[in-house]
Symmetry: C2
Subunit: 350 residues, 2 copies
């Protein structure tokens, strides 16, 4: 029924991450078993380890940017075989029958998608465990193919940071002829710049930090707009077709609304938090829109991965050993990473 | 060059409205001269008389819901002739050349549409004067045809309250099969209910005031949702395709965002004011949108008026004499009008 697996888990809200044995279900007919090679470190891992969202269930085994090799498949699995390079993102299941699921929008499943960790585990009971682990067993519908031609370790964050920025760019049809602003240069923002650039848009990196300008341009930004410089903000007022707002904390959105042109949209992807008061007139004068977006559906995630293979796009990563995870968390919190930590899961064995 | 005209004006921010002589330009080749029969009382008249928006220029002659008869046309005017029943709304001019104007969106003119009152007057200098007046002279491009078959006095508020609610319903393609919520039952809201109903949507009136339920149903609402009743709000959570938010003051939008379904939009049309802080997660989880919209373009306004003629739609109005204007303002501020005051401009002569 279940197999013991080595993992790194937090056992209470103030606990460090520590070695921990968890159970993974044995293969069912629809399952794919994966030996995890790399797992990205997402800011939401930290939120959940620290119970910031008040819904963590311990032990928390974080990790939803998972890449590895297939080590076994169930009898009804035909789309994957042993040795395939595959990925798992933020979801491992959904109802598959609601209108959202039927439209390939499992992330908005009306019955609630099952998150890769801290979700309800229908197979073993309790809750799901994520990718800071040597193995994972996942329903075949939630397993992605990873292109073999790009740097594997740098693909892991595509499963969350990548799809989170790709999905709104595609949904709002961003491409050639559009002036796109990416607000905030972190794990999400650096992928937003790469994707918007690859999709043919004019890309403006919008940041408070002038020292990030060179890196933004290296990543694909045509211009850098310093958001604390009122004159620069005024020069760009009303000129953007689309803004991808990756700021991960509450903030004042009014200055960014002023940047939008007629009928233009700003999409929030980072701030699952209270935002400051804003002025209704900013939206009313110019028929502007503020929207939200969370990760992406499985089909769309595969399209993004295929696009990355074709266009040689990966994330900028810093590799760490699993024993460096707490230091890495501190650095993520301090925005001191370019731009995503990835854990080499071999380090779990040593 | 200019003709003296009798009007009602406020001469300072704490002044009552009083009889006042203003100048109207003589007809140019492109102008239409109108004898005003009726003028609606919009909440924004009060804001500007009282200088709430800190940009009023005195004397303020309010009024941008104007209906009257053509009494003269310039040499180059072919679309109107003497005796025609016509209307003038919130704008009397725009640049006519920017992308917004070229797309029939004069209300978003990049160079700034000229408002019917308190806008810069390029003809006589100073600023424009509105419809609390016996006559007005307006460029032919900003004059609307009013259907003769519907109650004239009840058409005046269509020029602002009507188009303000019509435009977003049409822009976001509201119609049969949509569940539409209209938030707030006042001058805007009552037109939102009538239009959404006439467009074939299922209409839910959303209000804090249970005593408004009967009237909302008379106006066309299929259901009434009391926004202070948490159980009712929970029952409707995630179920709306579109929300038209007519609340004219700052408020908490989070409870309304919770009502939106996947990819659904709430459009703000009333609150040109700071809104409370809101939770980013409300938009992110469900890819929801909050947008704004202001009045509508001239072409769209004519389409709305034609629709009203075809479907026998007018505003619910209370007629007043111009000398009752200050009492009417107090009642508007106290939401004590069903649903729009209209001034009979004959009273200006007596």
């Amino acid at each position: 029924m279940a197999t013991n697996v080595n993992a790194y888990a937090a056992q209470s809200s103030d606990a460090d991450l520590k070695p921990f044995d968890i159970k993974r279900r044995n293969l069912t007919a629809d399952d794919v078993q994966i030996e995890i090679e790399y797992c990205g470190v997402c800011h939401s891992d930290i939120h959940q380890v620290r119970n910031d969202w008040k819904n963590s269930q311990y032990p928390v085994v974080p990790g939803h940017e998972i890449v590895g090799r297939v080590t076994g498949v169930g009898d009804d699995v035909s789309n994957f075989s042993e040795g395939d390079l595959v990925g798992v993102g933020c979801m491992v299941d959904s109802c598959q029958t609601c209108p959202a699921c039927e439209n390939d929008l499992e992330q908005y499943c009306e019955n609630g998608a099952v998150m890769t960790y801290n979700g309800p585990d229908e197979h073993l009971g309790g809750h799901t465990y994520g990718g800071y682990s040597e193995k994972i067993v996942v329903d075949k519908e939630f397993v992605l193919s990873i292109p073999e031609n790009i740097d594997t370790k740098a693909t892991a964050p595509l499963l969350c940071a990548g799809i989170t920025t790709w999905s709104p760019l595609k949904h709002w049809d961003v491409g050639e002829g559009d002036k796109v602003g990416v607000i905030g240069l972190g794990g999400l923002g650096h992928m937003g710049v790469k994707f918007a650039d690859a999709l043919g848009a004019e890309v403006v990196m919008i940041t408070r930090s002038p020292e990030k300008a060179d890196d933004a341009k290296r990543l694909g930004a045509d211009k850098v707009l310093i958001s604390t410089d009122e004159q620069q903000m005024q020069e760009h007022a009303g000129s953007f077709d689309f803004l991808l707002n990756t700021i991960p904390v509450g903030h004042d959105i009014d200055p960014y609304i002023q940047l939008l042109g007629l009928d233009a949209t700003m999409v929030l992807v980072g701030a699952i938090e209270p935002l400051d008061e804003f002025h209704g007139g900013g939206l009313i004068m110019g028929r502007k829109r503020v929207a939200g977006s969370v990760i992406g559906g499985i089909k769309e995630t595969q399209e993004m991965l295929d696009f990355c293979g074709e266009h040689d796009i990966t994330c900028d990563v810093e590799m760490i050993d699993i024993r460096e995870i707490n230091e890495a968390y501190e650095r993520v919190v301090n925005s001191d990473v370019k731009y995503r930590f990835v854990i080499d899961m071999d380090s779990l064995k040593s």
